[in-house]
Amino acid sequence: MRRGPVALGLAAVTILALPLVAPVYHVLLMLPFMAYAVILLGLNLLFGYTGLVSFGHALFMGIGAYTGAVLTTHLGVRSLELILLASAVLGALVAAPVGALCVRYVKIYFGMLTLAFGMLFYTFLLKFYRLTGGDEGIRVLRPSLLGFDLAAVSKTDYLAGAYYYYSVAVLVLAALLMWRIVHSPFGLCLRTVRDNPAKAEALGISIVRSRWYAFVISAVYAAVGGALLGPPIGNVDPTLAYWTHSGNIVFMTLLGGFASFFGPVLGAFVFIFLQDTVMSVVPYWRLIFGAILAFLVIFAPGGLMGLFAGRRPGEVSRA
C-alpha cells in the first residue's frame, strides 16, 4: 500500500492550496465537505468499525449546529473554539444516556431506536418555537476564530479564507485523533465485537460498554461537525435533524466505503460535489442519487474505496 500515503499527501497539498487557485464557489463548497468529513469519521467508528448503523445521527449534528446558533445569537458567545467545545460536551451529554439505551440492541432494532430518538429531537426543534425558532430555525452569527474578531472582513473572504483553514485544522485534528482511536487496543476491541461478539466476551471485553464508547465518540464527532456546518449557511433549521439527513450521511459513508478509514471522507467529498454538479443541471438530485445508492448496494457494497482497492464485495460485506 504505497499508494495510500501518496494519495493522502496529494490530497493535503490540494486542500491547502485550493483557496489560492480555485474559484471561490468551489472553495465554499469545501466547507460543508469538511464538516461532513468530520461527522463521517465519527459515524464510521460506529458503522464500519463497530457494525452498528445509526439512522438517527442527525440528532447529534442538530445538537452541534443549534449549539452554535444559540451561543452566537442568544448568548453572545462568538468564539468558535468555545462553540466546538460546547457542542462536543453537549453531544456527549446527550449521547451518553441515548447511547446506553441504544447499544443494548443491534441491527434493525438499533437503527429503529436511533431513528426514534432523532425524530424526537426533530419534533422538539420544530415545536418548541420560542427556544428553537420552529421551522425557521435560528441564525448563526459569524464566530471569531482563535480570538480574532473577523467582523470587518467580507463574508466571502472570511469563509474562503480564515474559516476554510480553520475547518481544515479541525478536520486534520479529528482525523489524527480518530486514526489513534481505531488503531488503539480499543479500536481492535470494537472490530472484535463486530466480527465475533461471543469471542470478544470470552476475552473479557465488555460488548455493551465498547459499543457505548463508540456511540458517544461518534456522537461527539457528529456534534463538532454539525457546529462547523452552521456558519457557512448562516442559519440552522430542523431539517438538519430530520431522518432523511441521517440516511444521507449513511449513504455518504457507503459511497466512499465503510471498510476503509478514509472512505467516508472520500464519500463526503464525492457526495457534496456531485450533488452540486447534478443540481446545476437538473433539480432532481434525489432520483440520480437514489439510483447511485441502489447501484452501490447491489454491485459495489465496498464503495469507491472498494473499487479502487479492487476488492471483491464478498470481502467487505459482513454476514
Binding site: M112, A116, L120, F124, K127, A294, A319
Partner: protein, 295 residues
C-alpha cells in the same frame, strides 16, 4: 363538549385507518422478507398522486362525482404493481446481504420515488376537486362527520378482516406464515420463495398505495408526504410489534387517536408524545405489544 370529543376521536380513527393500511404493508413485508421497507411511505405518496390523477381524469371525462371512489380505489390498488418491479428489479439481488444493505436499498427507493413524484406532478400540492363532501355529512351525537371518513374507516376495517382471513384461512396465507416462520423449511417443502416474495411485496406495496389513494380526497398530495408518513407508520409497527398484523391494527389506533388528542389538547406535543411512547416500548418491550420475536 361531546361533539368536540367525537370530532377529535373520529378524526384520529380516520387517520388510524390510513396508517393501518401503510403499516400493514410494512408488517407483511417485514414478517416474511425480514426487510424494513422505508419506501412504504413513498408508495403511499405514489398512491395518493395516482389516485388524485385518476379521480381528476374520471370527473374530467364527465363521470358522476358520486362514483369517484371507484377510480380512486382502483388506481390505488393498480399502482401497487410497481411492487413487482421493485422486488424483482432491486430487492431480489440483496436477500442474502446484511440487513443494513437491504435497509439502504429501500432508502434509495425513497430518494428516487420522491423525485419521480416531483417530476411527474410538480412541486405544488396536488388535489382532487372538492369531492371530499360528495357523500355529504352526517350528524353523530352532535358532531358533523363527513360520510367519506366513515367509508374509509369501514373499508380499512374490511381490509383488516380480509388480511386476517387471507393469512389464517387460505393456502397462500398458510404459505406466508410458514415462510415467515422458517424459510428453509418452507423451501424444502417445495414452496417457490421467489414467487412468494414477489407476491408478498406486491401485497405490501398495494396496501400502501391504496392507503395513499384513500387519503387524497381529505387532503392534498405533497411530495414530502411519504417521508413524513413513514415515521408514523414506523411508530405504529414498533408499538404494535414488528411483523404482527394485530400489532399494526392496535398500533395504528394508538398512534392515530393519540396524535389527534395531542393536537387538540396541546399541539406542541403532537408527535413528541408518540416518539416518547415508541422509545419507551423499544426500551421496555422491544417486541412491541403483539410481536413474537424477542431481540
Amino acid at each position: 363538549m361531546t361533539a368536540n370529543l367525537i370530532n377529535i376521536l373520529l378524526g384520529g380513527v380516520f387517520h388510524a385507518a390510513i396508517l393501518f393500511l401503510v403499516a400493514a404493508g410494512l408488517q407483511v413485508v417485514f414478517g416474511v422478507q425480514r426487510i424494513f421497507n422505508l419506501a412504504c411511505g413513498s408508495f403511499y405518496a405514489l398512491g395518493a398522486y395516482v389516485g388524485a390523477s385518476a379521480v381528476n381524469a374520471f370527473t374530467g371525462a364527465g363521470g358522476p362525482p358520486a362514483l369517484f371512489i371507484v377510480p380512486l380505489a382502483l388506481a390505488g390498488l393498480l399502482v401497487g404493481v410497481v411492487g413487482v418491479v421493485v422486488e424483482r428489479g432491486l430487492l431480489a439481488f440483496v436477500y442474502d446481504r446484511d440487513e443494513t444493505f437491504q435497509l439502504l436499498l429501500t432508502f434509495a427507493l425513497v430518494l428516487m420515488l420522491e423525485d419521480i413524484v416531483r417530476l411527474t406532478w410538480g412541486t405544488a400540492p396536488y388535489s382532487t376537486s372538492a369531492l371530499y363532501l360528495a357523500y355529504g355529512q352526517v350528524n353523530l351525537l352532535g358532531a358533523t362527520v363527513p360520510v367519506y371518513n366513515l367509508i374509509v374507516i369501514g373499508a380499512s376495517l374490511a381490509i383488516a378482516l380480509g388480511i386476517g382471513w387471507l393469512l389464517t384461512r387460505t393456502v397462500f396465507g398458510r404459505i406466508i406464515r410458514a415462510a415467515a416462520d422458517n424459510r428453509e423449511m418452507a423451501e424444502a417443502l417445495g414452496v417457490d420463495m421467489r414467487r412468494v416474495y414477489a407476491k408478498v411485496f406486491t401485497l405490501g406495496t398495494a396496501l400502501g398505495t391504496l392507503g395513499g389513494a384513500l387519503v387524497i380526497p381529505a387532503t392534498a398530495a405533497m411530495s414530502e408526504m411519504g417521508i413524513e408518513l413513514i415515521v408514523e407508520a414506523f411508530a405504529v409497527v414498533v408499538i404494535g410489534g414488528l411483523g404482527s398484523m394485530r400489532g399494526a391494527f392496535v398500533g395504528a389506533l394508538v398512534v392515530g387517536v393519540f396524535r389527534a388528542v395531542a393536537i387538540a389538547v396541546y399541539p406542541e406535543l403532537e408527535m413528541l408524545m408518540i416518539y416518547l411512547v415508541v422509545i419507551a416500548v423499544l426500551v421496555l418491550r422491544p417486541r412491541g405489544l403483539f410481536g413474537r420475536v424477542a431481540v
